[in-house]
Assembly symmetry: C2
Homo-oligomer: 229 residues x 2
DNA sequence: ACCTGAACACCGTTCAAGT
DNA sequence: ACCTGAACACCGTTCAAGT
């Protein structure tokens, strides 16, 4: 019954516990104090292994990103880039907190820089100019990390599969359709063709559209921006 | 010297004060307590006019978005969409807190829905199918709100215009270039062609690339997704 | 070396009470 | 109606002290 701390804490144990806690309860539930009690330790003990909460978050991101597997050899630049991005997306789906942690993080850790560099290297290896690669990295944006910024949500379209809506709900939908006809039309079409929006499909659609666009610019000899004009 | 509260608080006064405070000191400095003292009132007085902090943030976003001016008449769908998005971007540049508030906000207020609907309506009015419009809205992502997700930062390229780097800094840059050659190459090119990265230019580049891509899909008769296959 | 106790300076929010 | 006082249940972080 003597539950004295066997091994002294180290950075990895702190990060692993933090990741477990965030996986289980979400990032909002991850506090220095909560993490400390999870580890059976006072909050201040953590500060020997982590500079502050920002460093904790950065360390968590790093621990995940460092595990990204490289694409199989022999792929073209577009397929290789696509593969790297979908690997990042897998990690994102496995760790729901990862997206917010990446967006919030202010540090550029080695693993994070490494992933960015690996993606850019695929494009350069494919023969794209430095300028075009630069544009592509910006255009890909957070897609480099496997997520698209969902600024567009179709509203209250799919609450359930085939549940009869209440009169109140129907009235609200009708009012919505009057005030926001375009959004309503998209939501209706989306619901008609099989429930709510296919997020993965939208992600891949835009990813491929961007990769195609840059392939086309590359083939047409695009290599420098307006400074040449 | 009698500074008794002249007019009783109302929602608009609360929102205006919150926007002023956020414009001045940043969103991190905006707390219910701080806002209350700014208004010469106890924190709890705010809760008569605002449900909670989330509602406050949503109200601030709404107050800004409601002011977006519509595009001039007679533009084509692509130009009109472009105009709406650049108007949103102007607001973003005027209110540095707006971006974070939009990302964090969980409510879909009338003004927010209205802007989304207006953008979607431009595309539909241009003849794009509902499906294609749906894809376009997802592809535009946060660009609808005037910002691109800056997941790619070129690292410590431009600290100053022509300042001689210290030996320590040069050594670090050299080490960076070794470990992250692709990112370093982009940063170097970017610095060579005139200082740091042109964020506005990158925004417009990707925006136009996306609008072109959807115009091309539209012209080529693209109208439904794989369900037709 | 590694961890603790006590404290500082904050948060958002509720509830009963005042005017 | 509108606002206040006191309190609750939290935060991240510092500093001096313990073992």
């Amino acid at each position: 019954m003597s539950a004295a701390p066997r091994t002294p804490l180290d950075r990895e144990r702190v990060l692993v516990a933090a990741i477990e806690l965030a996986d289980r309860d979400g990032l909002a539930a991850l506090s220095m104090r909560g993490l400390a009690t999870e580890l059976g330790v006072t909050p201040m003990a953590l500060y020997k292994h982590v500079a502050d909460k920002d460093d904790l978050l950065g360390g968590m991101v790093d621990a995940v990103v460092i595990g990204y597997r490289p694409p199989p050899a022999g792929l073209g630049w577009a397929a290789a880039t696509r593969d790297r991005i979908l690997v990042a997306r897998d990690a994102l789906l496995a760790h729901p907190w990862l997206r917010t942690a990446i967006e919030r993080s202010t540090r550029r850790t080695p693993a994070v820089l490494g992933h960015m560099d690996a993606v850019a290297r695929e494009l350069l290896a494919g023969g794209l100019s430095v300028d075009l690669t630069h544009h592509a990295m910006h255009a890909l944006g957070h897609r480099i990390w496997g997520f698209s910024p969902e600024a567009f949500d179709e509203g209250p379209a799919a609450t359930g599969p085939a549940v009869e809506p209440t009169a109140e709900q129907s009235a609200m939908m009708a009012a919505m359709a009057q005030r926001y006809p375009a959004v309503a039309a998209i939501a209706a079409e989306s619901a008609a063709t099989g429930g709510s929006c296919d997020e993965q499909g939208e992600f891949e659609f835009t990813l491929d559209l961007l990769l195609d666009a840059f392939a086309r610019l590359h083939q047409s000899g695009w290599s420098s921006r307006r400074r040449s004009g």
